[in-house]
Symmetry: C2
């Protein structure tokens, strides 16, 4: 089957997916859970093939690639939670009586066909495909090539279990090569949204090579701003967590901004704590004297995502200078302020133009599971549709339903009838 044929099949299936009852989708998700349990031996065997071929890869990658009984059990647990969440489709978001007998409803519906390109974790295939299923979307999936054997068996199991419970044929399509992805990017008449997960360079490549809307993020240049009224002990703890708890992720901080009035008390303590974690410090002129072992920062540092044990540090004169720095150099992902002053926090949260703006907690909380969205298909830094961690909500859009009893527009246009525009309660029924 060609990629175009796969796209057309998915498009045909997407119409039926949109009309699936919530109950059918939940049964399908539970059927996937059962099938994973039943076939866990075969899944492990396929994954061992991938692991055997991955001997030359680095350790963290191998760890992500591994899909054993423990991880399969975690996937099954995740599916049970997903089935228990409310159906995101068919929710009436607003309702208006336009005139007697003319009722307008805005109702959530699936986006349609989603193309997801993701990294090497086989559990991501299970998570993403079932998020699409629950939100009524058909999906084209392309996972990391290192996980090909795992992905093949998982895609087959997920697809067939869901179909056995009532999902339409063709709802899930597995792509296997980079050439497949290139073909997929051309299918602007079949695919409604592309979600790329991976390196900056990869996401940028996808954005530049398709006219299909893309949801995702390239850079993750996150900031922690330590205000003059910060609790110093808290600021040190949060700096260490936000930088070092997991350095290679997009919501780890790359730049620390510090108010000049707290620099002398905070920076030496931060330097000590970061040194214990082997973090290299790149400092502006004013922070350099306070941080032992630091090197001078260059202008380029403010625009760099290290994804490593490196942190740039800058002293600012004011809250507003910090906000301006973040809006200029940040990537609109996640930025946090540490302060005991409510007004400073309020101003920071209003003026920082990022998907996630945090007060007195670590930037590392920016995550779909941690946010309680069930799971996430990705984090978006665009400002269209969905932003920040994207779960079920972000896989839905809405349509407007208008129910009348023969109303023409003519009498409203010539002024013989007038609109009432009275809000209705949002329980929609025909």
């Amino acid at each position: 089957m060609t990629i175009r044929e796969m796209g057309l099949q998915a498009k045909a299936a997407s119409i039926r997916m949109a009309a699936l009852e919530g109950e059918v989708k939940n049964k399908a998700i539970l059927a996937v859970a059962e099938a994973l349990e039943k076939h866990s031996g075969e899944i492990e065997a396929a994954n061992r093939l991938d692991m055997a071929a991955a001997g030359g890869l680095d350790k963290p990658l191998q760890k992500r690639l591994k899909y054993d009984q423990t991880k399969i059990a975690a996937s099954i647990e995740g599916l049970r939670s997903l089935s228990a969440l409310p159906d995101p489709v068919g929710m009436t978001q607003r309702a208006t009586l336009l005139d007697d007998g003319l009722e307008l409803y805005r109702v959530s519906c699936p986006i349609g066909v989603i193309g997801v390109v993701f990294e090497s974790r086989p559990d991501a295939l299970v998570q993403i495909s079932t998020l699409c299923l629950k939100s009524g979307n058909a999906v084209l999936l392309k996972g990391g090539s290192e996980a090909l054997n795992s992905n093949r068996i998982l895609a087959k199991i997920v697809k067939e279990a869901a179909i056995s419970a009532g999902a339409p044929d063709g709802w899930l399509q597995l792509l296997e090569t980079r050439a497949d992805v290139s073909e997929m990017l051309k299918l602007d008449d079949c695919i409604d949204l592309v979600i790329p997960r991976g390196s900056n360079a990869f996401v940028k490549y996808i954005m530049e090579h398709t006219s299909i809307p893309v949801m995702g993020h390239a850079d993750g240049i996150c900031h922690l701003y330590v205000d003059k009224d910060a609790d110093v002990e808290m600021a040190v703890r949060l700096t260490v967590d936000a930088k070092t708890q997991y350095v290679s992720v997009c919501n780890a901080i790359e730049t620390l901004l510090v108010h000049k009035e707290i620099a002398a008390s905070f920076l030496p303590r931060a330097a000590e704590a970061l040194k214990a974690k082997n973090v290299q410090l790149r400092c502006c002129e004013r922070s350099l004297p306070y941080m032992e072992g630091a090197v001078p920062a260059t202008e380029q540092d403010w625009d760099t995502e290290y994804l490593d044990y490196i942190l740039s540090v800058k002293v600012v004169d004011s809250l507003d200078e910090a906000i301006e720095h973040i809006n200029l150099h940040g990537s609109g992902h996640t930025d946090a302020i540490v302060t005991e002053a409510k007004e400073a926090a309020s101003r920071f949260m209003a003026l920082v133009d990022s998907a996630d703006v945090f007060w007195n907690c670590s930037t590392r909380f920016a995550d779909g599971f941690r946010f309680g969205l069930g799971a996430e298909v990705g984090i978006a830094t665009g400002k269209i549709h969905a932003r920040g961690p994207v779960g079920l909500d972000g896989l839905c859009i809405y349509k407007w339903l208008l129910k009348g009893n023969g109303q023409a527009v003519a009498p409203y246009a010539d002024g013989t009838r007038h609109f009432k525009h009275i809000p209705l309660d949002t329980s929609f029924h025909l």
Copy 2:
């Protein structure tokens, strides 16, 4: 000033716009209303210059270009309604207690900087700019060149009145030429969304020449489906209204689909009523014998937006064939069913994949004012962010605010602490 400098000014202003209190924005909108009233003589004079130069244009265009006391009064009336609407910014859409002392809020916020390219109506400038103001967005505007004198004075009045009431300098920028628009389309680091209004060809041109997200619609191929259980009299009335009430608009129908079982009773009456309005009929083989004076349709007719007194007609065997035809040949804009059968309506509304799906009423109701959205900046047929008539809601996105008291991620990552994920009521306060 270069277009890039305008974009940068708008971007700087957008941060301040985002933080404007609702009260300040309403004062600014009322200040615009007052200024329009005060300067109505000058506005009329400028518009007369445009009208004088437009002698060679066709009558409907001249009618749209005219901006006299009556239309100015309507604009002022519209501004008073707009100021009375609730502030779309700062609304908490969901709230979750992640853990004790760790509260997550999803709060609506402006998109940022919006570039709008619109047609010759000077009242559109007032409407669009103030929708942006109310939703806290900075805006770059380019109107029809025929309206240049009107737009210059209106942009000046709207901009300055709003600034006098507290809006930031630079929030509104007026572009004047096509070359300006080309420059604007390059500003993907300043502009968050482009909204083009105009012909299909123009909208397609914009979509193909920018990497900024575009919201709008190209084609408007709308359908009316007359089901076997339709009320024939109602079906005839709605066909005439949806086709002829205003033929040159995107929500007028281009194709009439008719169930085979009602063809014999409905089509001859529809033909008569449409003939009285001088509509040319292009019929499929099965409808042709029922419609006097009709010509045979070609395959191309099903994909054509006439925007004229022309209607294509097709007999279908079933509701599902009608749905399939619409999803295949339609443009995802507005499609309607006429039927007395609730189940047929329900299936049609669930399966037709369009922004607006109507039952027993005219497709011509697809309009922001008629929907009660106050006004609209456009109609969108994409499936990302906003769809159908786009009012204040569609000019906002959200950000996630997380408020803690020192929480690091580490204890949640190593399993010593667990998330609670308890829904909170959505009244956000720091």
